[in-house]
């Protein structure tokens, strides 16, 4: 988007992320106190599918889209909390009641997509919820794109390596080598990628020339 003039252009449709807000599955990991109740009530007011749990679960239940986490209380519980910050299972909204560097560091390590301060106030929760989920989805897309590109680079390199093995050991030129891999793939109903891997593996076992 080049510029922001108004929130929407004429007749623009409401974004997917917002339309689906009532299908979001939210897990609140927070002690059962006033703040926890206020948070839960407001998430239900917004209309999300919300459940709360305390103490922190040893394992995250499946099918959760957004987790709200009471940070200090999880830390003080001195119990291992499972959260793979590099490949998280859900968007994370961290609830903080202190913001000294120890606590902020914990927020950074968890790579939370949103931060909410105690005491809970209803205003701002909706925007933080939707924004956190959008940031999470956005990062996951970037991560998937990186994985695909890395796979692609590997795949090209493997195909080249397999072709070279065939050229070196069978005296084929590049075109012939490639045609041999492709016809093998078609015969065996496998991908050229899989054939390339098979050739590389075989060459290692049989001690063929690789370069």
């Amino acid at each position: 988007m080049a510029g922001l003039v108004r929130g929407r252009s004429p007749g623009a449709e409401t974004s997917e992320a917002l339309r689906n807000i009532r299908s979001l599955r939210v897990l609140v990991i927070h002690p059962h106190d006033e703040d926890g109740e206020e948070l839960l009530r407001h998430l239900k007011r917004i209309g999300c599918q919300t459940q709360a749990t305390w103490p922190p679960p040893k394992q995250l239940p499946p099918n959760v889209d957004v987790v709200f986490l009471s940070l200090r209380q999880v830390i003080e519980a001195q119990q291992s909390f499972p959260w793979k910050a590099d490949n998280p299972p859900a968007a994370l909204v961290v609830i903080v009641d202190y913001e000294n560097p120890v606590m902020v560091d914990a927020v950074l390590k968890l790579t939370a997509q949103a931060v909410i301060g105690l005491p809970i106030r209803p205003f701002g929760l909706l925007t933080n919820l939707v924004s956190a989920h959008a940031l999470f989805t956005r990062e996951r897309k970037l991560q998937r794109r990186i994985e695909k590109l890395e796979e692609k680079v590997k795949s090209i390199k493997r195909l080249n390596q397999a072709k070279e093995i065939l050229m070196k050991n069978h005296g084929l030129d590049e075109d012939e080598a490639y045609r041999m891999i492709r016809s093998q793939a078609m015969n065996k109903r496998m991908t050229t990628e899989a054939i390339a891997i098979a050739i590389i593996n075989a060459s290692e076992i049989l001690g063929l020339k690789q370069d």
């Binding site: 929407r8 004429p10 007749g11 339309r19 807000i21 007011r45 917004i46 209309g47 205003f123 909706l126």
Partner: protein, 388 residues
């Protein structure tokens, strides 16, 4: 709270904040009247616990900064902690931080765009699921699906237009344009919009123009020679107050969705209208915002009778789930979200400038202020059947 605790004849002091001047005075004056009428009625009947309600009145003149300053003054020096007031969302937002900081209570008698909840506010006007959906359905069934959107330039029209766009698009209709005018508009501001309407010939004009701009717009429409039969203006805000302001000629034939019109056919409403005219003049008219301002004082009074104290905490508890026989029908504060169960209606302005009610809900509709995706099914399922 000193004001809520003293001797047994000491009045219950409450703040009243409606504009007597400025761009939204046309409608806010009727909200002020509705508030005062209810207070006078309650006092005439002996007050609450033998003590009268005493309104502490300030005029913010349609200016948001004045709204905030007067709210702070009411909650500070005046030691009031219940306030009736506000029309535009801007004024509500200006007042809200002071209300929350003092843990006071605001009664807000105006339709608005939803997506707000404060433990310190009671919302008695319509949420979008109580007027937008019904208006969209009526207009598409009776007039067509090509919509032209015109609004004042602020948050309420933005969000109302989003909802209307979604509903129209969902039904295969089309929004041909979305235009905004400044809040303090001049008649000439509408020239370009009228020209565009003439050019695009929509089947429905959806107006979220508010305040004195409303009369400017309807008059410009009339001056352009457009016909309400083929291209009516549909609105959520144009009510009896604006009709009086613009005159019958400009108003006739246009459509509004609201939980209340002066023409509601019930004993409770006939009595309300009669007392209103007796008090403020035979030529005066009630309207949806005036009625909400009126019945919310009664909701407050019922709660106060139960608590016999003015603190927000206990008043709030007494208010949640409370019911009252309002002029529009029975209403109820939703304990989940502090908004009000209301009765959606569609009115068309007749040759006398009165709203002929052409459709009305057969049951109250629960408010859902956080609903993002409205669909026409909501209306039919919530309403059961509609009367024509």
């Amino acid at each position: 709270m000193a004001s809520g605790r003293g001797g047994s004849s000491e009045p219950w002091r409450v703040g009243v904040l409606f504009s007597q001047s400025g761009f939204s005075a046309v409608i806010e004056r009727t909200q002020f009247n509705g508030t005062i009428l209810a207070i006078e009625e309650i006092n005439a009947a002996g007050g609450i616990g033998g003590r009268p309600i005493e309104p502490v009145v300030y005029d913010p003149g349609s200016d948001f900064i004045s709204f905030r300053r007067y709210a702070e003054h009411l909650l500070g020096e005046e030691q009031v902690n219940v306030v009736f007031g506000c029309y535009t969302s801007g004024s509500r937002k200006a007042v809200l931080p002071a209300i929350e900081r003092k843990n006071a209570l605001l009664f807000y008698p105006t339709l608005y765009e939803g997506f707000e909840y404060s433990p310190n506010v009671i919302y008695t006007g319509a949420a979008p699921n109580q007027n937008s959906v019904q208006l969209a359905q009526y207009m598409m069934e009776n007039h067509g699906k090509r919509f032209f959107l015109v609004g004042s330039n602020y948050v309420y029209p933005y969000e109302s237009n989003r909802i209307m766009s979604d509903l129209v698009t969902e039904q295969g209709g089309k929004v041909v344009a979305e235009r905004y005018v400044r809040l303090n508009s001049e008649p000439a501001d509408f020239d370009r919009i009228i020209a565009e309407i003439a050019e695009t010939r929509p089947e429905v004009i959806f107006s979220t123009v508010v305040g004195q701009s409303t009369a400017q717009f309807y008059k410009a429409y009339r001056a352009a020679g457009f016909e309400p039969e083929t291209m009516p203006i549909a609105s959520l805000t144009t009510c009896e107050a604006e009709v009086a302001d613009m005159g019958v000629a400009a108003a006739r034939g246009h459509v509004t969705a609201a939980p209340y019109f002066e023409t509601v056919d019930s004993d409770a409403n006939r009595a309300f209208v009669a007392r209103y005219r007796e008090r403020f003049g035979a030529g005066e008219h009630t309207n949806m915002c005036c009625e909400a301002a009126y019945f919310q004082v009664y909701l407050f009074a019922r709660a106060l009778a139960a608590t016999n104290a003015l603190d927000a905490q206990s008043l709030r508890e007494a208010l949640l789930g409370i019911e009252f026989q309002a002029p529009q029908g029975p209403v109820r504060i939703d304990p989940d979200n502090h908004h009000t169960y209301l009765w959606p209606r569609i009115g068309r302005i007749d040759g006398n400038g009165a709203f002929e009610i052409v459709r009305e809900a057969s049951a109250w509709v629960k408010p859902d202020p956080y609903l993002v995706t409205h669909t026409l099914d909501d209306w039919s399922s919530a309403v059961g059947q509609v009367a024509i």
